[in-house]
Symmetry: C2
Subunit: 363 residues, 2 copies
């Protein structure tokens, strides 16, 4: 069972967050990334891997190394922040890793919000965004409300459309809550992500209704004939498509960068040309609108009412983020699971750069 990621007892390899983080940083450094890049990219992937959002977790490491070493992503970028008003700035990211651009932009948005009440930064010439929630979360950790969004290469049809038009165009929002982890919404504006189709295909299962379409735009529940994703909302997909449009306008039009259908595919063969992605972040200081204590009490009261509300039979009522924070608690104890393909990639990287595998991943 060597090199499969599954131990001989049938369990998956699990590693501690610390060991995983160390490995990612070492790999990035060995691949030629500067420290800010290694820190930001690791931090964003670890957000995904800690919270159970594995599609945006450490499985991206090998992909990022390829992008950083082949010219698509600049391993030593010179980021250029320009303030354009008391609450507005732009960030020319010099083809930086998307996480470095997004964390840098959010840090600036938070500063603007601390002085002006709110702040926003339009990002251009960036690359793969990673988990939108990571950057919103960074704002909440600093005590303010954060919103982060990004367009991406086309996978999603319009309402009644028959071609890939928008990306999955995620929106994330994080709100600080006293004494606990933030309220954290992180959602694609499609019903499901594209890798869910691959998962259903490998499991031989039908797709949920209204989530994917054939090449003619008609609905399909067969993952093998799914050519594009449907916008969130099914019959009311004009709402999901409208939200995707909002993200598109903020991330591409307001940054002067590429529309989703103009973006080179993330997994395309060209790893030497920068993809020129845009993104947008916004921060709001609660104390600029209402007494800080009233805001904190309000969040506590709202969340207590929500979590205490009646669920339907067999269901559970959760606030955005509750599922992810519970998974983070579990993983803090049990370790972070590594799927076979990721473990295989780690072995390649460890060999190539002469770096020790994270402890626990060597079964």
């Amino acid at each position: 069972m060597a090199h499969t990621g599954t131990k001989t007892d049938g369990t998956q390899s699990r590693v501690t967050a610390d060991a995983l983080e160390r490995f990612c940083r070492d790999v990035f450094a060995a691949a030629g990334a500067d420290t800010p890049t290694a820190d930001a990219a690791t931090c964003a992937m670890m957000h995904g891997s800690r919270l159970g959002i594995d599609s945006h977790g450490v499985r991206l490491l090998e992909h990022y190394v390829k992008a950083l070493t082949h010219g698509r992503v600049n391993p030593k970028p010179k980021l250029n922040l320009t303030q354009k008003g008391d609450a507005a700035a732009t960030l020319d990211a010099d083809d930086a890793h998307g996480a470095l651009a997004a964390y840098t932009a959010m840090e600036e948005a938070v500063k603007l919000a601390q002085s002006a009440g709110l702040g926003a930064v339009a990002i251009r010439d960036s690359s793969h965004f990673g988990p939108a929630g990571a950057y919103a979360h960074a704002a909440a950790e600093a005590g303010v409300i954060g919103i982060a969004m990004c367009n991406s290469d086309s996978f999603v049809r319009l309402h009644e459309g028959a071609q890939r038009f928008h990306g999955t165009n995620p929106i994330a929002c994080a709100v600080p809550v006293p004494g606990e982890r933030p309220w954290l919404l992180d959602m694609a504006t499609s019903a499901i992500p594209f890798n869910r189709i691959q998962l259903y295909k490998s499991l031989g299962q039908k797709l949920p209704p209204g989530t994917a379409s054939r090449t003619d735009g008609g609905d399909t529940d067969n993952p093998a004939e799914a050519e594009m994703l449907a916008p969130l909302g099914g019959k009311f997909g004009f709402k999901g498509a409208g939200l995707a449009g909002l993200v598109e306008i903020f991330s591409a039009v307001l940054t002067g960068t590429r529309l989703s259908f103009e973006i080179a595919p993330m997994f395309g063969s060209d790893f030497s040309t920068p993809r020129g992605l845009g993104a947008f972040v916004l921060a709001l200081k609660p104390g600029a609108f209402v007494d800080e204590k009233a805001f904190a009490d309000g969040m506590t009261r709202y969340l207590a009412a929500l979590r205490g509300s009646t669920a339907r039979a067999g269901g559970t009522v959760l606030a955005p983020g509750d599922r992810e924070w519970a998974e983070a608690d579990r993983r803090a104890v049990e370790g972070i699971p590594l799927d076979p393909a990721t473990l295989e990639a780690f072995r390649r990287l460890a060999d190539r750069f002469g770096i020790e595998m994270p402890r626990g991943a060597d079964a």
Copy 2:
């Protein structure tokens, strides 16, 4: 066929926008509202009636008159704007009509955005919001991007929930487009509005799947047993519920006002107690992030690509607002239709205040 709103030839009464607007203003004035209140309330209702959003159109006139004359809404409010930062302000609306509060707040947000790049105003002690798109649209008319949102009395369950928790909590966003009407998204975060259930009931039709629930939270397609609405997204209703939560946090927690389940029902019997609603508006100046011409060109290019994209068989691809602007063009020529109940209410108001009915409504 007198007093039914349907002419003897079977057609509905239609009136011009000008005649309708004059009638509304005269009624508000006669009911004791000051000019700013009459102007704002008329303007917001006319947005609904012009664009075909009749649930938020002039059918609300009699309801508003009752609220203004019984103490729920202050007919001569003293609004108090307080700037809290270069980009942030609050508006204490003194129980004003919701449209006066929202237009006033958006006007201030636009001013802040013009100087600081963006601006936001938290509204408190307001009343029924009306069409969220009207206020976002006002920002776009001033050349900036506008976002408006409001929570409202509980009608919508949480994902997997079995009680009314959030309101239909709409979000609207309007973006200026050179040479044409704004891109205009105006959506409830529930799949359908509550009055759609009443419509399906009166038509004897089944509800679309995943839009409404029985008292136990289970799905129903029978409008007669629909006790609550489902959040947008069906199986992925955690996204709709998350967006409703975002609106709730911005409109209620960030304004220090009531959560949806604490708000007295709009159509409850108490018309003498102010409802103390909160709301939130945000404006962004495109030129603070990107060259104004690049933004304008980008919107034109994006919309041309969207409208020119392939539709599926029998479908039509539209940008947010396209359907509503086309309806506005139709109504500008054919007049605005008045349903029988609204026409009946107009007759009562005309009699009561000694005001002439709008021309065309007297068939």
